[in-house]
Symmetry: C2
Subunit: 331 residues, 2 copies
DNA sequence: ATGAAAGCGCTAACAT
DNA sequence: ATGTTAGCGCTTTCAT
């Protein structure tokens, strides 16, 4: 039924070893026999079985990628970076969504390890000891992308979130020297803590006292941005600017404000984070922190290939450059 | 080094067959021995090798998904539907981007077949004979998602694009009885032809003569929407409404018009397609055709599981319901 | 340059 | 209920 290497060997009057050699491009084959083998491969319609190869060679040329939500504009961009580099290095990727749910994450890691992936790319909110232990049961490399492990034990690719948030906040304060509201995500997520620290540092540096009630927690969605700005507008002392940790939520903030008759940036400056495509798909266009999502994915995958090939790695915790892009949602 | 089923068998004083049975939940195992085996599995840290299992059983519980571009807001939503149902049925998915490039598509199909996927989900613009031939070399089922095969040979999940476009156009015409501009994608893509047919039918039904110059081709991107509207505005006889085949491009059309001082919907009504999250992330909110992307992915994956399980399939060309959502970008 | 043979870790009859 | 035994299709020494 299915054509195997053995069938090809028989038809071509060679041994399976020889067929294996030509399939794998081993130079130790006489051109004539190579040609003969290639011809019968074509004729028989032979297709190598990667599963059998994987069992014999202990390499699957497949990596696993665990991602919170592929339908998010942020992560899908990251995934594209991963995929492109994976393709470039001849790897396939098994992609799975975790919804940042710890149990799912742990299960997924296990499933991927069962499938004998050659490496794992992990994106998530929080890295716990359980995660690290689970990873240690693997004898394959793991790289975190846009994900922080406070212990720095694991290889990772990120930007400097603290500094980026600091710069954004500073920009806001320079225009209007009072405390911007801070619309963030769960404080369980390390990255949000770093962003908060940067925000706080900018305040302290400008001698602006910190008012807890200007910190609002959302879930990164557009709707939660609308909710957040409603809450902010009801405050006794309204801020004159709002720093939002994701672009999508920032769009919600802008539209929420506009829908209630406020003007951006005149009544509220709004600063986003990530520079997703959304940032220019709104009026006023969104000032935001440029986080190179695609590059983070690409670099993370590249780093993983180095580990998989047992190459030397100069820096296991890669920090990619970020910058601030000022558009029309700020003064 | 790695613990195998054989190690577990030896330690637990049973045969590998018994270990295999407990691992696979076969009921023909005495509770006591099951317990014993489970204990030594735990103790030894045994993890089943899915590659070996795949080779022996000829099933990998992995499916392949070929998608034009995972970073697109449209396809990433579709992918999420696929992933969720795949997870529900215990499949993993190898996801790869094709950029709608025929060679890449053909290569990807081949690679996935080499990896012995149990089925393939395909999303793309054009299905050629080469595609169909390539699929035929597979002895695994294939399902098309949001993709048309004019021969109807292949299983697929879609909506009725012709009818949907007809309804949208009709709505526009009812408000303003003249020809709307039509901003579309490549006419090589069958789906665009169906949409065009629906648009045309609505015109004919209303006895509106068709002017070719009101048809503009874009590439679905925001920027190409901006370009398209620029081109439309330069026309001798400007239309009073614009039907755009993708939401993202429709946002470009709206902002392009607004940036030039026009009002939506007063100067131009704008109608989108897909109802991606973007549709409510703009002011005015976008009237659009609701295409259930997530459901298309989910239903396609479900259909694939049926084929993989050799279940009876009532309808191989599934047409999901669509509807029109009127928001503020139309009168 | 080519071949022979031993696995890789598991499933699936078949036997008991 | 449990064990025995062939493979699954390939890679990889080791010979020649």
């Amino acid at each position: 039924m299915t054509v195997t290497i053995y069938d090809v060997a028989r038809e071509a009057n060679v041994s399976m070893a020889t067929v294996s050699r030509v399939v794998n491009g081993n130079p130790n084959v006489k051109p004539t026999t190579r040609k003969k083998v290639l011809a019968t491969i074509e004729q028989l319609g032979y297709r190598p079985n990667a599963v059998a190869r994987g069992l014999a060679s202990k390499k699957t040329t497949t990596v696993g990628a665990i991602i919170p939500d592929i339908s998010s504009i942020f992560f899908s961009e990251l995934a594209r970076g991963i995929e492109d580099i994976a393709t470039m290095y001849k790897y396939n990727v098994i992609l799975s969504n975790s919804d940042q749910n710890k149990d799912k994450e742990l299960t997924l890691i296990n499933t991927m390890l069962e499938k004998q992936v050659d490496g794992i790319l992990f994106m998530g909110g929080t890295i716990t000891e359980d995660h690290i232990n689970q990873f240690k049961t693997a004898n394959v490399p793991v790289v975190l992308a846009a994900t922080y492990d406070d212990t720095k034990e694991m290889a990772s690719v990120n930007i400097d979130y603290e500094e980026a948030a600091y710069e954004a906040t500073k920009h806001l304060i320079e225009k209007e020297p009072n405390q911007p509201a801070f619309v963030t995500g769960s404080e369980e997520t390390s990255i949000n803590r770093y962003k908060f620290n940067g925000y706080k540092r900018a305040l302290e540096e400008a001698n602006i006292s910190f008012n807890e009630s200007l910190v609002v927690e959302g879930d990164y969605s557009y709707d939660s941005g609308i909710e957040a700005v409603k809450q902010i507008i009801e405050l006794q002392e309204k801020p004159s600017s709002i720093f939002v940790v994701s672009d999508e939520m920032a769009l919600g903030v802008i539209h929420g404000a506009q829908d209630m008759g406020y003007k951006v940036p005149e009544d509220f400056q709004v600063f986003g984070f990530n520079n997703t495509r959304l940032a220019t798909m709104i009026r006023p266009t969104l000032s935001t922190v440029v986080q190179p999502m695609y590059d983070i994915g690409a670099v993370a995958m590249r780093l993983l290939t180095k580990y998989m090939n047992k190459e030397e790695v100069a820096e296991k915790n890669v920090v990619l450059p970020h910058r601030i892009e000022i558009r029309d949602s700020t003064l």
